[in-house]
């Protein structure tokens, strides 16, 4: 396109062009002679407004603006996994090679490595009819992930020719397709997709399979389904990032997309360090073999921060379409919302609540609605689970981002400052949190873990609620005046809190706990509780039970009983019986 379009005004990351009709809404453009990436966000007959994804220092009126004719899109193909990108899918490792430790502007590097050869197996032959989403070739992307090349949505036809199996680069044509009108399309190893459009699927499936995380408070108390949405709100220092890291490490999704949106640089380097050292217990391979990182740290340009969430989501959907279960961790969605507010302010839009633009709720809902468990176009099952951290201003959950997120997510894991102060991690408050997936997931738990699991969970929840109301009294008059049966509830609740809900992420066994062990832990706690109830009913004071040290052994069972030896729980329960037996005899 001719470069008759030039910059007129500059205000922070917002650039305007006067009197032009050559751009369309959301089109990706290059700004200035160093070709900074930007996007068209507003058009009227006088002014076209561009948000630039890089620092605008040094731009001047009269510098050229180049259109690309396509919306902001990402390149999808093998090489995404085990990579780290910035908010607009530029590979940070490649940028480091070209521009050193500090990111310079206008870096022109391809998103994916175009020189690398992939070991491709062709899955179709000449004469086959292909429809959108069908797999025409595969290649091993990492040791555990097979990359499946799919016909892009909107394209179908007959295979005219294929290349033989062998080694190909990203842009090499491997299959040629002829559509109904006789036009030929060359299919390579990659495709492009606009980040703000959801990729299509055949049907959405109900949320009936849990995402197993190995975190007791989540799996047992507030479970999330595959394809579900969850929000983790919490003030600073309450452990949002730690919780997200734990989920990224241990949840049973096939692929993790970790979006560091406006967060700390040192945290991203920690993720890089840790994930390459950690071995996934299921595959025996480093965690990085199933992880994509998107790092847009808080000092990187604000407009790219807004895009990073969509980039991550599009990558996740792409792998979902191949038939994988993908979980996306967005840390933190508040920074994304603030990026919206910042850009909205530059555009001088009318602000709604706390300066946030009026379209904040609709953007949030569009984002979370891209989650789901689906039947893909090629007929397999895949899912995208979204887990978004929320950083409420001043730890106040009534602020707009938290409130609106609450409306569009079905799990709410509220992090609590006072728990975090006492170093009770994960600091998920069991009174304020909720999960709407209970009823959807109950059949699964029933089939896989038996009726008992749900019964135990309900009992545990009931005890915690009872404790909370008793604590109101204790706060006023102290625990000494309570009758023994209520003291027992307080002691049991303490064992639940310390022994069950609190989980040590740095302990080799406790960092991930299988569902079976979670169930047995609950069983042990409730066993002691019901036995002790009988003893107290027989007018034996609770202090004598406390002296036996049973509650302490419950608090330490998470360390004492290894994950691999659930049979030790039988011994624990037998020990409880013998110890209590000495009281009644």
């Amino acid at each position: 396109m001719a470069t008759t379009d030039v910059i007129y005004g500059i205000n922070g990351p917002v650039v305007t062009v006067k009197n032009t009709r050559s751009f369309s809404m959301m089109e990706m453009v290059y700004v200035g002679s160093s070709r900074l990436v930007g996007e068209i966000i507003g058009i009227n007959d006088k002014l076209t407004t561009i948000q630039v994804y890089e620092e605008t220092t040094g731009l001047r009126p009269g510098d050229p603006v180049y259109g690309t004719g396509t919306p902001m899109n990402v390149l999808l193909g093998p090489g995404i996994i085990d990579n780290i990108f910035d908010g607009i899918e530029r590979p940070l490792k490649a940028i480091e090679e070209t521009s050193g430790s500090f990111i310079s502007r206008g870096s022109q590097v391809s998103s994916l490595d175009t020189d690398r050869y992939w070991n491709v197996r062709i899955k179709v032959k000449a004469g086959d009819m292909l429809s959108p989403g069908m797999i025409y070739a595969t290649c091993p992307e990492t040791a555990i992930i097979e990359h499946r090349m799919m016909v892009p949505p909107g394209l179908s036809g007959k295979v005219v020719s294929t290349e033989p199996n062998g080694k190909y680069r990203l842009m090499d044509t491997i299959v040629t397709l002829e559509d109904e009108s006789g036009e030929k399309h060359e299919l390579s190893l990659c495709q492009k997709w606009p980040i703000k459009t959801a990729r299509p699927c055949k049907t959405r499936l109900p949320a009936t399979v849990p995402l197993i995380t190995g975190q007791r408070v989540i799996d047992t108390m507030f479970p999330i389904s595959k394809g579900g949405t969850a929000a983790i709100p919490g003030g600073f220092g309450t452990g949002k990032t730690m919780t997200q890291h734990q989920l990224a490490k241990w949840c049973d999704a096939d692929i993790i997309v970790y979006v560091g949106c406006g967060e700390r640089g040192n945290e991203m380097s920690q993720v890089l360090d840790e994930f390459s050292e950690l071995i996934d217990p299921k595959s025996g391979r480093p965690m990085t073999d199933r992880t994509v990182l998107i790092a847009n740290t808080s000092n990187m340009p604000v407009a790219a921060r807004e895009a990073s969430i969509y980039t991550g989501l599009t990558l996740a959907e792409y792998y979902r379409d191949m038939g994988y279960h993908v979980a996306i961790m967005a840390d933190s969605t508040s920074r994304w919302a603030e990026a919206l507010r910042e850009i909205s302010g530059r555009l001088e839009e009318m602000p709604a609540e706390e300066g946030f633009p009026a379209y904040l709720p609709s953007r949030l809902s569009q984002f979370y609605e891209r989650a789901g468990r689906v039947e893909t176009l090629c007929g397999s099952e895949g899912s995208v689970t979204i887990i978004g951290a929320v950083s409420p201003q001043g730890s106040d959950f009534s602020e707009p981002v938290t409130q609106n997120t609450k409306r569009f997510t079905r799990c709410f894991w509220a992090l609590d400052k006072s728990l975090a102060y006492a170093r009770h991690y994960p600091a998920i408050n069991w009174m304020d949190s909720y999960s709407e997936y209970f009823t959807d997931l109950d059949p699964w738990f029933r089939d896989n873990l038996g009726e008992d699991f749900i019964r135990y969970r309900n009992k545990i929840t009931a005890i915690l609620h009872e404790e909370s109301s008793l604590m109101e009294i204790v706060k006023l008059i102290g625990s000494d005046v309570l009758p023994d049966d209520q003291k027992l509830i307080i002691e049991t609740a303490k064992a639940i809190r310390v022994g069950f809900l609190q989980q040590n992420a740095f302990h080799s066994d406790d960092t991930f706990v299988p569902l079976e062990k979670q169930k047995l832990m609950m069983k042990a706690i409730l066993h002691l509780y019901s036995k002790a109830q009988h003893i107290i009913a027989a007018a034996i004071p609770i202090s004598r039970i406390e002296e036996l040290g049973l509650f302490e052994s419950l608090a330490k069972m998470k360390y004492d009983i290894p994950n691999s030896k659930p049979e030790l729980f039988d011994k624990l329960i037998a020990d409880i019986d013998t110890a209590l037996g000495t009281l009644t005899n």
Partner: protein
């Protein structure tokens, strides 16, 4: 071709507007010459065709619509850098004010810096021994970290910062490559003087670079002060391979300067009138801490901020807490009881601590001990609130133990002398001694093996005296 533009179109606060300007570029520097021959400096902040908005650093006093000549300098705001900046004193925009003449620049760098590539960062793991029990044990400072001090007006944050500077020691003994960059933003004259004197007394003055924007200096300069300081710090760290500790005080004044500037630009305000981009702006400062591959140096930041009305949910401490890797919170009540440093242990946190302590760094029992101290002290707060309702006498025996633990903890662990430098072993052992005043069954965050090693059963040894508050004053 360099052109002078005569006169201005509009003046609003610290902003002036020029018309018919050709070839202006965003963030470009300008010189403004007044009729009386004095110069002011400014920066372009917004361009709309030929209309250009300029921010004047020294303020717009006595500028009229036609008594100025403005010249575009064709480069963004830059700082002259050379290893010789050590020991020098600059104003808020990097002009020397110590009368020793200009810096002969080896390099000029844009004060805005460029974002560090997350892939190039080295994850910080080396701890800095500060000799202060609460910080070393419970909120360990790590080299390359940004750990702010949340304080309030009138509290002893300056003393704490000075003690940190004086005592900070890196475990591997590379002290000769240690430097300090001090940025004062809107602080009082005597505070800046206190810092200068303290640096002098402890013999580090020749290793300090000072950027001073005092309370009565122009606010636009204030918005550039931390940027200049961090540019100098990055230069010393990444090009001269030094370990640089950056102390920035007071971040609240900085944010208020930003608010003043933003409102004069007519921007839409966010919370408490601060601009919507306050988070991004603060992040662009704090994120300049760290270490990069290929350089032996590091930038460690200790920003100090005073919480207006001691309110930790005020936007400045709130957003700072979201960006920095933890915080050290000072407490007025502890200060009132005469304890120094008045570190409020529970809300204080160091996020990088977990990977820089333990076996091979400090001692294997460090993390479990810290967890147990936090848990126990949290329990003390519950006992205290209960005692305030029903009276201390009515508490259960365990709660009474906690009350006693709380008192001892504050008096002997939190409290320490201004000149007292405790080793990490002293601090950790003191922690165990304090925990031993509680029944062993209460210590549920540590495993039995550690308890066997460290739990003191002999009541004779549980006597606390002045030995523990440090008569070993070595200042």
């Amino acid at each position: 071709m360099i052109l002078d533009y005569v006169g201005v179109k509009e003046i609003n606060g610290s902003l002036i507007v020029l018309d018919d300007v050709d070839n202006a570029s965003n963030e470009e520097m300008v010189d403004i010459r007044l009729e009386n021959g004095t110069y002011r400096h400014g920066r372009i902040v917004q361009i709309e065709g030929k209309r250009v908005v300029i921010q004047v650093f020294e303020g717009t006093n006595s500028i009229s619509l036609d008594n100025t000549r403005t010249r575009l300098k064709a480069h963004p705001m830059e700082l002259s850098l050379a290893p010789e900046i050590m020991g020098r004193v600059f104003n808020g925009v990097g002009t020397p004010i110590d009368g020793l003449g200009p810096v002969y620049a080896k390099k000029k760098a844009d004060v805005n810096g460029t974002p560090m590539n997350p892939v190039s960062r080295i994850y910080p793991r080396n701890y800095i021994n500060t000799g202060i029990s609460t910080i070393d044990t419970l909120t360990t400072l790590i080299r390359g970290q940004k750990l702010p001090i949340f304080s309030g007006s009138g509290m002893k944050h300056n003393e704490l910062a000075v003690q940190l500077v004086r005592q900070a020691k890196i475990s591997d003994g590379e002290d000769n490559r240690f430097g300090i960059v001090f940025a004062a933003m809107g602080v009082k004259n005597d505070v800046a003087d206190y810092f200068r004197r303290s640096f002098d007394e402890s013999g580090v003055l020749s290793r300090v670079v000072m950027f001073l924007n005092l309370a009565n200096d122009p606010i636009i300069e204030r918005t550039l002060t931390p940027r200049c300081a961090l540019t100098a710090a990055e230069y010393l760290a990444f090009e001269c391979n030094m370990h640089v500790l950056v102390i920035m005080t007071d971040m609240t004044s900085y944010a208020e300067a930003l608010r003043e500037f933003s409102s004069s630009k007519g921007e839409i305000p966010g919370r408490k009138g601060f601009p919507g981009y306050l988070y991004s702006d603060l992040a662009s400062l704090y994120e300049r801490a760290g270490m990069v591959k290929g350089s032996k140096g590091s930038v460690t930041q200790i920003p100090i901020l005073t919480m207006p009305n001691d309110d930790i949910t005020h936007p400045v401490p709130d957003l700072t807490g979201y960006i920095t890797e933890g915080q050290i919170v000072l407490d007025r009540q502890l200060e009132g009881q005469g304890f120094y440093p008045p570190v409020s242990v529970l809300p204080s946190l160091s996020r990088l601590m977990k990977d820089g302590i333990g076996e091979g760094y400090t001692r294997a029992d460090h993390q479990p001990l810290a967890n147990q101290l936090f848990a126990a002290y949290a329990r003390v707060q519950d006992a205290r609130s209960l005692a305030s309702v029903i009276g201390e006498e009515e508490l259960s025996p365990v709660d009474k133990k906690y009350m006693q633990f709380g008192k001892l903890f504050e008096q002997y662990f939190v409290n320490q002398g201004f000149g007292e430098n405790r080793t990490i072993e002293q601090s950790l052992d003191l922690g165990w001694k304090l925990l031993s005043t509680l029944p062993r069954s209460e210590l549920d965050r540590v495993d039995d093996k550690l308890l066997d090693m460290y739990y003191i059963t002999d009541p004779e040894q549980l006597v606390f005296d002045t030995m523990d508050t440090g008569s070993s004053d070595n200042s």
